[in-house]
Symmetry: D2
Subunit: 295 residues, 4 copies
């Protein structure tokens, strides 16, 4: 759930990014999904004085899994809180907890399948909504900045079943950044070590092809969206990318590709000499905005 | 493991398909992997009088999982056999069983990580081998033909943890074809109902982009590879595709895209009226070779 | 100017092919242009009992060039006729003549520049119309069937300044097919030797990329357009292609790429052994519909 | 002809840019062509203390055209000099003249057709050389910096038959930059107004697709080529692009796309408010290196 200037943001998220608004609740929160996502919502925004992230949630397989994971978290020493079903539209009970980077993470088992824009019987390959705005396939992952990324790593790995896909290792052998997956996606969540807790670097949306990345950059230009960097490629995950900012200054990424890892894979390691190439493969150096702007 | 005319096939699999030969054993079997696969082998061929498939194997997480799955299979009434470690090069013990479509499936927990063509530290985005021949990313999935696909479906779903992603449903509500995944891939294995047991329709190799599909078609033409159909798109999975034949007449697919499903997704259903569009989305009709040629 | 069933065709040409209707005249002719073409029209259709082509026109640089070319045609023994300015909407006087393949060709110097969908000052890279239907860049070329293609070749080469880019040469050294250019396009017009005079094989529309070719095939499927063949590649010109039929049975092509030749280039020759690869590079053989259906 | 550090540059032009060396002359000049160019050479380099351009040449249709253009140039007040046939390998007599921006331009009618890497009879769609290094289709155009671009414009327009495709117009209505074509290419030569005469901004090489632009960027990274900017898109011509530097500091461009104009087209105009978007469409602002580095 992102904090934003609301009206301008709704226009941006629907017409420029090309999400579909699926509802508003009595707290004024606005819910969105992509044209291809089936559950009721994947992105929620609310009015706020400053940009940033309220929480980030993962769907688990079923209620039994939710209960088990909560119990595992508690056993691991992580305090949890239950958010009631219906607090978010079309969403069941949520288990909420704070991780050592200062971020709030949530788990939930139930969200209404309202369907994508294609039917479940004899669908076409895509629907007209796939060309309304940037129109990503799905909300893909998030990159968070905070101090104790080792503590966050431990919880995701030891309790929640994520595995390390790539990491940037500092000269003292501590991780500067970690990319974690609980699927065959190159990453479901990532962390960068940073003094301030609870910061958001970006939310990423998946595009289908490098040509769709070009189209996204074109649409950003047409709509005067401030691009941070891109189109380019990451060394980490090999994914292609554009970073840009929503009207409230939250960075978002339109991401494409990346390999599909398995849990038995040995992580890929980046050393500090090549951190530039790891982040931006073509330039092989970091840009200033990428380093300094978090919300 | 595919049955083949050996010499011509080795040339085909290395220079045209662009796999990397990783070894030969004392039975004359030849082992291959793609440029990006890390384990020692994903495709094995042997000399034979007729084309076809000996068995298809899945790697499981670890030895404990292998033992558990074997026990689960036996409890489910599926007889298993252990193939000794080392029978296949760089491969641990395998649990082998026959499924009701007549095919032999194997599970194993250990295969030597010999590394891809990129290092685990500070890799480039790809290596020169990614342009040698068609050079797929990975062996992706298999489509098998046989009589009792419901029995096969039950084992994969109830014992092995696969879920149904798409199916073609006949007018009597029985499945004509099923696509099953144990990951976020659109399918890891698929079955079509067919009178003869144990038949292979195709082995699929993953390409990165629609432009790589064009390149694959170009290379097939340059090398006088017999194309069955394509480049085109499937309705099922939305993936783009070419079907063609190896020198022994085994059909292979160069496949790209497809969406990335989750286990909680409702399966997509195709009715017999639109089965043509399900298989070949552009023509919306099946071609003769697709239907009749299996090995 | 194409002969068609009108209402269904207007819908097809606007919503499926994605042309823009720019006018109708008092004879009921309907005028279209692409989103990126600047002159008032490039495709005109009229109601008729049978499909086919009335004439095909080329714009020349100015009135002086028009007069000179008419004089050159007459000197070459080609009778010409002047069609008055205004007979076609927003179009100046036209010089009309019949070529030995039985087709009517026209030249004109003036057609109103109504502008593309982008302004002439500070344009964006593309406009929303570039995503309405297949939305080609331009009407690109035409392929005509008729008996005396050598006679047509001579007029285009000796009088009109075209040059031969590729040809298929029969065993008796006569041309079976010729591709001619008066620009840096791989072809502006092409002819195939055929017993019946005045036949149309296809009108081609230019797409920007192989991915747009895929998109065109998807849109054809969604709109139940009958595809003849494709997506595939031609050996001749290397262009990628789909052939399909409009509602009246006129074949059209969505074409992409092809190299950019110069007048000093030596023509590329195809022999009868490889004519299949010349036409359809991937399959290396002709399909039945391609050979037999002309309008 | 570019001035360079020779050994390192030969390696760069062959293995990284992927040109083919076609010869060396007794002055030590090294000749290159692309895999798809047919004439003996399109790029020549020589050892020099400083980077930059010696001259840029255009091939004309035949000797009669060469003589006529020389006569026209002289009549226009441009002094010419004949360089003898054979001074450059496989190249006929050249007409050389200096334009008001301080650059030397040459015309020639004859250069040996040594053939591309594909035969003139029954060619494949591409050859293995198309994947050796960046492997552009052709040397495409050049951008020159110098003071009197109006004078250069006049010669190219009034004598040589070029037409203005796009221009950036300053507030005093003078041109800051002009893009000129003598073909259906978006530009064959371009000029930017600049205090110092005779400067080179970049030489451009044509790529086939946006995906080849990504591949070029990847290869630049792998070979530690210094990228100035890109992959991105130009507003001017809509082409996609990367600017980078050869080992001697000469900027080169890997360019793709752009529309195909005709001589009767109204030029596209950019005002100073949008010059950023005209040059770099995505960022809508110029970068420092682009502005300041010329050789």
């Amino acid at each position: 759930m992102l904090r934003l200037q609301l009206d301008e943001s709704v226009t941006f998220y629907t017409d420029v990014l090309g999400l579909i608004e699926t509802g508003r609740d009595d707290q004024g929160r606005v819910y969105f999904k992509t044209w291809d996502e089936r559950d009721h919502n994947s992105v929620i925004i609310r009015e706020a004085d400053s940009a940033g992230l309220d929480f980030y949630g993962f769907k688990v397989l079923d209620r039994a899994t939710l209960d088990q994971l909560e119990s595992d978290l508690n056993a691991y020493g992580v305090a949890t809180e239950r958010m009631p079903a219906g607090d978010l539209l079309e969403t069941g009970e949520r288990v909420r907890f704070r991780i050592p980077t200062g971020h709030i993470i949530e788990l939930y088992a139930e969200k209404t399948d309202v369907g994508g824009t294609l039917p479940y019987v004899n669908p076409e390959a895509w629907s007209p909504e796939a060309e309304h705005g940037i129109a990503p396939i799905r909300m893909d992952h998030i990159l968070l900045y905070g101090p104790d990324i080792d503590g966050a790593h431990a919880i995701f790995r030891d309790v929640l079943g994520f595995y390390l896909v790539e990491h940037i290792v500092q000269d003292d052998q501590s991780d500067l950044a970690i990319w974690l997956s609980c699927s065959n996606k190159a990453h479901d969540i990532a962390f960068v070590r940073h003094a301030e807790p609870g910061r958001l670097h970006h939310v990423a949306f998946l595009l289908e092809s490098w040509e769709k990345v070009l189209r996204a950059a074109d649409l950003m230009s047409m709509n005067r969206v401030a691009i941070d960097i891109g189109p380019t490629r990451h060394g980490v995950t090999r994914g292609t990318t554009i970073y840009a900012f929503d009207p409230s200054g939250n960075r978002f990424e339109t991401y494409c590709g990346g390999y599909q890892p398995y849990p038995d894979w040995k992580p890929t390691k980046w050393t500090m000499e090549e951190v530039g190439a790891g982040i931006f493969y073509h330039d092989r150096k970091l840009n200033e905005a990428f380093l300094s702007v978090v919300t």
